[in-house]
């Protein structure tokens, strides 16, 4: 589904990614963990075409590096950013509708989203700007699904969520997997990552420091010591 090769990314002159190689298989949940500031968000932004980079990004076998973000999106990549970026002035419903891509016919409709997050249905007509932190998180997730992506990049979806909702989000991701959508999950909370993902990448200093299954990571004390714990 997704495959990056020797990805180097830059903000202005500061060199953030130093050759990142990750792959995401079809219908697979892959997590990207690591300390703050190591470049996880940058990685997903780069895939989304928002950060200038060199190397290669192949999606469904076709090179998408250098394409404009909206083209990449139209090819079936969904993105849930770290900063939730709901459209504050638009109503919740309009926010969701904006998720729909111009041409394609979508597997997900408003009702599916409302079934997933009943709270959204209640708040349907209020401007999204007034939603609580958590609600905004749900909204962005739903909005991305409306676009019917084959791969979703999610950056820290559980941030600022009440513990119970955090658990829910985990389940939603599972559900998507069931719908045979691939997920690249950037997570801060290791427990979830370990729980729901098939493979885990640990990132350090803008490069992949470890790749393997949750089990392997769970056992590998030194990696966790060096790259995750404080």
């Amino acid at each position: 589904m997704l495959e990056t090769g020797n990805l180097h990314a830059y903000y202005g002159k500061s060199h953030i990614l130093h050759g990142v190689d990750i792959t995401v298989g079809a219908g697979e949940i892959v997590s990207l963990v690591g300390r703050n500031g190591v470049g996880r968000s940058t990685t997903v932004k780069t895939i989304m075409g928002q950060v200038s980079a060199t190397g290669s990004i192949r999606f469904k076998g076709e090179e998408i590096l250098g394409l404009k973000p909206f083209m990449i999106a139209c090819k079936g990549v969904g993105y849930v950013p770290e900063s939730r970026d709901v459209f504050p002035t638009l109503s919740v419903e309009k926010n969701l509708l904006l998720g729909v891509k111009s041409r394609k016919k979508s597997r997900w409709g408003l009702d599916d989203i409302f079934r997933m997050f009943p709270r959204m249905q209640e708040r349907r007509n209020v401007p999204a700007g007034v939603l609580s932190g958590g609600e905004q998180q749900m909204l962005t997730l739903g909005r991305t699904l409306m676009g019917d992506p084959d791969l979703i990049l999610i950056d820290e979806p559980t941030e600022g969520l009440a513990p119970m909702v955090v658990a829910q989000v985990g389940e939603y991701l599972q559900e998507m997997k069931a719908q045979n959508i691939s997920v690249l999950l950037v997570e801060q909370k290791l427990d979830i990552a370990l729980k729901i993902s098939q493979r885990i990448y640990v990132m350090g200093h803008g490069a992949i420091a470890f790749a393997g299954t949750p089990a392997e990571l769970h056992d590998n004390q030194d990696v966790r010591k060096e790259w995750l714990e404080v």
Binding site: F70, N95, L98
Partner: protein, 322 residues
């Protein structure tokens, strides 16, 4: 009776004049409202695009005649507008609306000068096409010019077009969302830059069309932009920033009020005179008392605007912010 007839005649004609003037104002301000309402850009060069519309139309009509000009001139203006958006506003987007506003403000200076350069300082003999000169109908003895009628027609057509655009497409939503998070909108698969360019171009086209119509209804001269420059802002503000129906309402309001005000030579002094209060040049504040409504006509729109802003800052039909 003779007198009575004349009053009726006067009222009808004045009303028609007011409405047609109001509709021209609407043609002018609709584009402005559109651009502001959608993109949040206060386009100070809007009146300049109106002027360009008139000049293009003049030049074109000398070669191809009015009807071609009527279609082509607005398109040229639109093209120009898109160029402005693409090379002027787009790079400024990140600095926020004030710098966009300032850019258009500077642009208005430049456009006047370009007009000077290309067409000179004098007024252009941009004439009403023969098909449309003459009277549409006569009220008793006064003829109502066919061209003013035509003007009204075009304005209404314009209103319809915009309405369809806004209701039948998602453009509005996309733009509004892009105001706060352009990257996110792109990430959802919308081509934001192109949409912005189209909207701005569209707004300018409307101004251009107004120019084609207003240019020969009144005068085509370099100061024509400045002449309407601030009144259209008044319309937009009174109507409620970004509200199209508000703009329509405000335009008609101003058009009619101003037209009738000109006719009323009554002053406070006259009013008081009714109550046997004599106001003479000696009275303190005679200036104020002797001021006739027709003298006030020029100031009325601004007076209304300021009052509106005080009692109802979001304008007649504007949404309250926050």
């Amino acid at each position: 009776m003779h007198q009575g007839r004349r009053i009726v005649e006067f009222l009808t004609i004045s009303l028609l004049n007011g409405i047609s003037y109001g509709l021209l104002l609407f043609m002018l301000s609709s584009g402005l409202t559109l651009i502001f309402g959608m993109m949040g850009v206060l386009n100070f060069a809007h009146a300049s695009f109106y002027m360009l519309g008139a000049y293009f139309a003049y030049s074109l009509s000398t070669v191809f005649g009015f009807w071609i000009a009527l279609v082509v001139a607005p398109l040229l203006v639109a093209a120009l507008g898109m160029a402005v958006e693409r090379f002027g506003l787009r790079p400024l987007h990140k600095y926020g609306h004030v710098s966009e506003l300032l850019f258009t403000f500077g642009l208005s200076y430049v456009i006047v000068e370009i007009v000077h350069l290309v067409w000179g300082r004098g007024a252009q003999p941009y004439a009403i096409p023969p098909e449309l000169s003459g009277a549409a109908f006569t009220v008793f003895t006064t003829e109502f010019p066919a061209y003013r009628a035509f003007m009204m027609g075009v304005a209404l057509f314009m209103l319809l077009a915009i309405y369809l655009l806004l209701t039948r497409t998602r453009i509005g939503m996309v733009i509004q969302a892009s105001l706060t998070h352009p990257e996110m909108v792109e990430a959802l698969g919308h081509n934001v830059p192109r949409t912005f360019m189209l909207v701005f171009g569209g707004g300018c086209a409307l101004a251009g069309l107004a120019g084609v119509i207003g240019g020969n209804a009144f005068v085509t001269e370099p100061s024509m932009a400045a002449a309407v420059g601030s009144i259209i802002f008044v319309v937009v503000v009174i109507g409620g920033m970004g509200s199209l129906s508000g703009a329509l309402l405000a335009s008609l309001l101003i058009g009619i009020i101003q037209t009738f005000a000109v006719a009323l030579d009554y002053s406070m002094a006259d009013l008081l005179a009714l109550f046997k209060l004599e106001i003479g040049p000696m009275t303190t504040g005679y200036q104020l008392f002797s001021l006739t409504i027709s003298q006030l006509a020029v100031a009325l729109p601004y007076l209304i605007m300021v009052l509106i802003l005080i009692v109802r800052p979001q304008g007649l039909l504007g949404r309250a912010e926050g």
